[in-house]
């Protein structure tokens, strides 16, 4: 039976406010959805609820203190955030980082990528509706990595372990052994997720062909990291412009094909396998040696009128530091290029025309950290 529309009967679009306090917005993110029935017609994101002025704070503190603020911009991958910052200071101060410090940094950054992606897998599972199990699985594996970080730096988050020039102190004696232990549990965790989600029909039905973004649009919008690679653009800064010793390491860059939510999930899962592979190679190359340069100035002063833009591949994409020095012991200007901010710009394009329920998992698939977006 065909239902004829009643003459003179008009429907009105409904505005729904989601957030800033809402469990599925992954922090203090607010979006206003305009819906026609179940379909999203427009989406207006509002950010800035977590703005702390990290850039201004860094301009008023000396170079050593900046490390702590970087931790807080990207609290799920603090090591990666610190790395960009210390690399920028080292490049301008012309500090030579010892080999051992570099290898340890690489191990920690890749471990941090693992812990961050576990966080994504757990939270994303909850978004999709596989309540409980993936979240607890993810937490168990992430806990092992965070325990290791705590043994090294003394903190479970905000490690402040990297220093311009090297590392704050030597890693514990059983470091290699402990990393290998963590890798065993990480491998098992990845397998569990693969079994639990990748071929799960309900999961596939919810994520396949949802929130598609094309490669051209992704590049145009300045997206980066796994969210960009899921659309089929093979841009990984570790490969394109190798920093530290990534050019001596063998690894692949997993790339998606459809640019949908499922690809963004799968690219991250595959990326984790590569991280484990990288860490194993780093462990084999790890040698004894100093962790700070021999001739380290007591006070860091950068030369006048110098600037640098350092970018590294953090778990969420390109984490860039634009550092301008005009002499003295403070940065003149420090800009944090946030991967999440640029990725979040694409949310509207991904969500319009999709179901309301899918808008939540699309947001989850971008894997935002609001403290990095707002800084």
């Amino acid at each position: 039976m065909v239902v004829e529309s009643t003459p003179g009967f008009e429907t009105q679009d409904l505005l729904i406010n989601v957030g800033p306090q809402h469990p599925s917005t992954h922090g203090v993110f607010r979006m206003v959805l305009e819906v026609d029935g179940e379909i999203v017609k427009d989406l207006v994101p509002h950010i800035g609820y977590l703005h702390r002025g990290a850039e201004k704070l860094c301009e008023n503190n000396d170079f050593r203190q900046g490390v702590g603020y970087m931790d807080r911009t990207e609290y799920l991958a603090s090591h990666n955030a610190e790395l960009s910052y210390v690399m920028a200071v080292e490049a301008l101060a012309e500090l030579e980082v010892p080999e051992r410090a570099q290898w340890i940094r690489m191990i920690l950054c890749e471990l941090n990528r693992l812990s961050s992606h576990f966080m994504f897998l757990g939270a994303f599972g909850v978004d999709v509706g596989v309540f409980g199990t993936p979240f607890i699985y993810a937490w168990r594996e992430r806990e092992a990595i965070i325990d290791l970080f705590e043994e090294i730096s003394g903190d479970r988050m905000m490690y402040a372990y990297f220093r311009a020039g090297g590392l704050a102190w030597e890693v514990p004696g059983n470091f290699e052994e402990r990393v290998r232990e963590v890798l065993v549990s990480t491998r098992q965790g990845m397998k569990d997720f693969d079994n639990l989600l990748t071929r799960n029909e309900i999961f596939l039905a919810r994520t396949k062909n949802v929130g598609i973004i094309s490669a051209e649009d992704a590049v145009e919008l300045g997206m980066s990291g796994p969210t960009l690679r899921a659309s089929g653009v093979s841009l990984d800064i570790r490969k394109a412009e190798p920093y530290m010793y990534y050019d001596q390491i063998d690894f692949d860059v997993p790339v998606g094909t459809n640019g949908d939510v499922f690809d963004r999930y799968l690219v991250r899962l595959k990326e984790m396998e590569q991280s484990v592979h990288i860490i194993e190679q780093c462990l084999a190359r790890l040698d004894d040696g100093p962790i700070m340069p021999e001739r380290m100035p007591r006070m860091l002063r950068l030369p006048e009128d110098q600037e640098i833009y350092v970018r590294t591949e953090a778990p969420r994409g390109e984490y860039g530091i634009y550092l301008v020095s005009k002499g003295g012991n403070k940065p003149w200007r420090l800009k944090v290029r946030s991967a999440c901010l640029s990725n979040l710009q694409a949310l509207k394009k991904m969500s319009v025309g999709q179901y309301v329920a899918d808008a939540i998992i699309i947001l989850g698939s971008i894997d935002i950290v609001l403290s990095e977006v707002d800084r």
Partner: protein, 192 residues
């Protein structure tokens, strides 16, 4: 990090002119100079990326050329921000990257203090949208014809004070905001 793009620059004005031009030959400067032949462009230096200066009247046209030219294809806007140089005005800085060619370029343009207005790069890359909104509210720069000129991180009504300018106080931000929101310091007392 590509060390061959490294340029040793000295602080001495007279000698640096010659040196920079010499070592710029190793960078992508000859290529950029050819591509942007119709624009007034000056190289500055490159510590890892080449930095060029373009006057603000030409900036959007130059960015269009850089994006669409087959030889360079700067299709990816890494970062857009500004630097406050106090009396020397504000520099708007564009960090460009070409995914097909794997080359980087930093483009700078100077805005005088009294007239901080510039064309919008959203015409070139959509990525510039939020980055320009942030730069506008932090530095008081007007991006002409911006499609969505609202504040991004700051409160909606905070459009007359610009936190990242050097003239903006560091520790009095709350008070400035409070006055905007109707907070009266006289009646509330100074007990803090």
């Amino acid at each position: 990090m590509t060390s061959d793009e490294n340029v040793n620059s000295t602080n001495e004005e007279e000698t640096s002119e010659v040196e920079v031009v010499d070592s710029l030959e190793d960078t992508i400067w000859p290529l950029i100079n050819r591509v942007l032949s119709s624009v007034d462009v000056t190289p500055e230096r490159g510590s890892i990326d080449l930095i060029t200066r373009i006057p603000r009247t030409d900036i959007i046209r130059a960015l269009q050329i850089l994006k669409n030219n087959e030889e360079v294809q700067f299709n990816y806007l890494r970062c857009l921000t500004a630097v406050d140089n106090e009396s020397e005005g504000v520099d708007v800085v564009y960090h460009l990257y070409s995914i097909p060619k794997n080359i980087n370029l930093t483009v700078k343009t100077n805005l005088p203090v009294e007239d901080k207005a510039i064309g919008t790069a959203t015409e070139v890359w959509e990525a510039a949208n939020w980055l320009e909104r942030e730069t506008a509210e932090m530095f008081g720069i007007k991006f002409n014809n911006h499609p969505d000129p609202r504040t991004l991180l700051m409160p909606e009504d905070m459009t007359d004070t610009f936190p990242l300018l050097k003239s903006h106080p560091f520790a009095e931000i709350e008070i400035l905001q409070g006055e905007l929101l109707g907070y009266d310091r006289e009646t509330q007392g100074d007990d803090e």
